[in-house]
Symmetry: C2
Subunit: 246 residues, 2 copies
Amino acid sequence: MTRYKLVVEYHGGDFVGWQRQDNGPSVQASIEQAVADFCGETVVASASGRTDAGVHALGQVVTLDISKDTDANTVCKALNAHLRDVRVAVLQADAVAEDFHARFSATGRRYRYRIVNRRAPLALDEGLAWFVPVPLDADAMHVAAQCLVGHHDFSSFRASQCQANSPMKTLDEISVARHGEDIHITVAAKSFLHHQVRNIVGTLKLVGEGKWNSDDFRAALEACDRSAAGPTAPAHGLYFVGVTFE
Amino acid sequence: MTRYKLVVEYHGGDFVGWQRQDNGPSVQASIEQAVADFCGETVVASASGRTDAGVHALGQVVTLDISKDTDANTVCKALNAHLRDVRVAVLQADAVAEDFHARFSATGRRYRYRIVNRRAPLALDEGLAWFVPVPLDADAMHVAAQCLVGHHDFSSFRASQCQANSPMKTLDEISVARHGEDIHITVAAKSFLHHQVRNIVGTLKLVGEGKWNSDDFRAALEACDRSAAGPTAPAHGLYFVGVTFE
């Protein structure tokens, strides 16, 4: 039996999320089915980030075990062949140690949120970014966001259905940068609360449009109360970018 | 009556092309219908480039005449409202002189062709780029392409159904540049033959994968014979980028 680490890209709009669920197609089930189609084995695929419905991945990391005598390159090609009808692609496959685990071995996760900030609706990027027609001040958003860096109680940005034991998390980095019409919000942490990034982005938008200033934003964090912060930004602007391991 | 110049973005995958046809939805018909929905007028929309089925636009230019007493900002907003169910967006609208014409006033047109060059299929960019899994040497493609610059007989890159009077065209610029996995081929000319860009790209791919060298590529141009050049690259990698006017 060999454990394989896969780096996976997918279009979240087609799925109920990473995790296998009864109510529709999941990325997990697609990958597990591709393995079954390849070698007839029933596997459980683990991911570094259990992304929600609509959330995209550029570099999700997945581990799974295959008994068949094969190699990483063959696994990569075969899974892509069996995934051809869904928008999931295996970018890379590597054989790893048996105790390596996509979720438990991860020491850092990185997300990017993409806003397209212009007056006209999105023809080409529909479903791939949050369309925000009101002008946003990305620099003001960046400055306000810096109070989140460090170890905090993130209750104000935590979904009510979040299953984490504690609202305490350490945010390693957050940046907001404009590239023409695009605004990219990049965040890095060991782990995140449910909806934490989308709730941060929805609240930073209030700063970007001038409804809130940095003090308001900090007060929302310090309130430790979800109702003190802004709305949840839509899933289709969020990308799970990558994972770091020891 | 006021003539409006529109800058338009669209997703070519949803359309039989720019031009109104009996066999499916066209960008032209979508825009003309949006004008009718806005002000009840039957207009004919003219475009700078009559893009084929599947070809995208980032900055197509369209002119049309509206009798209703309105203004450019209202036209832009109203058309986008009526275009909400299709992947067409009006980026900008301006009132222009009555003798300004999207097609006949244009002095330069610019296209970009996008290749994603990697082994894994495209999950996020499906339909938005040509997926080429064999490694391509973009520098070699760039060097070979330079023989196209200037005034030439482009018969080798001209579709059999091309309706131009002459195969003679002047290519102002062509560049091939790699940005990570992306290869962008940018071309500029006053006007193009039918399928000219896609036939150039399909032939440059032969250079990129090492099957042809620069001399082979030049010989294909000089043969003035479509069968001497390579295949037509797929429509979904092509973007109509923009237009220049006097």
